[in-house]
Symmetry: C2
Subunit: 143 residues, 2 copies
């Protein structure tokens, strides 16, 4: 599937998504292991986006990332970075100094994610107030 959705009308986007999803279901017989889900699951795991955004600015060392994203545990930071490295999004470079120094940077593949990510962030930012208003209305109605 190539990017058809360049004129950005919602109808085009819907058709693209629906057609792509239907095609895939027909190819694979409703197999739960969808390649898109496989990728998007990672996007959504709470820390990945934040780390990618942090590394978008410049390469960071382990502790630098930890300072930039203060509420992540070191364990999850390690895990998320390993996932990103495994997926070819992040390059891990060890400098054999003492104390040890490890630098993480986005690969070209990782940088290519910034484009769709910027769209999504812009959407989230642009619709945040609407969403908050909807939440208030919902909680008032059924709270």
């Amino acid at each position: 599937m190539t990017r058809l959705c360049t004129d950005n009308s919602i109808e085009m986007c819907r058709d693209e998504i629906v057609a792509g999803y239907r095609q895939w279901r027909e190819r694979t017989g409703n197999n739960p292991h969808c390649p898109v889900r496989d990728v998007l699951d990672r996007m959504g795991d709470k820390w990945t986006t934040l780390i990618v955004i942090t590394l978008a600015e410049r390469p960071h060392r382990f502790s630098e990332i930890h300072r930039a994203v203060p509420d992540i545990s070191r364990r999850m930071l390690t895990q998320t970075l390993r996932h990103l490295e495994r997926d070819g999004m992040v390059l891990r470079q060890v400098f054999p100094t003492m104390p040890p120094s490890v630098e993480y940077r986005l690969t070209h593949l990782g940088e290519s994610l910034l484009r769709p990510l910027a769209e999504l962030i812009a959407w989230a930012d642009g619709n945040h107030e609407r969403i908050m208003a909807a939440r208030v209305a919902y909680d008032a109605g059924s709270g």
Copy 2:
């Protein structure tokens, strides 16, 4: 923040993301409660995207969604739909028939998400092979 990233060069996207993130950190003093994260956390919760895609095609009843997304539990389906409803992305309409019938459909806000979502899906689809290759290489090296 408005969408500056219309020419879609990676440099523009990076600058947009980095500038937006830095601005927000300066405004809020590194508060962990980021509005963008607040929205993106939902996107990533494994079922939301799939349900939005399903509803993109047409309104669905509860059991129809369950058939379209077979490996979700009814509990998680209910929960995810409630979240989407609360955020103003989905409209829930009850028909007082017997047995009961409940229809879920995307709101205008929900449909507006399809545009950035299509971008992300296109990226995932277009880079899936690269990611799989990176995983194989990684597992071969450190397995």
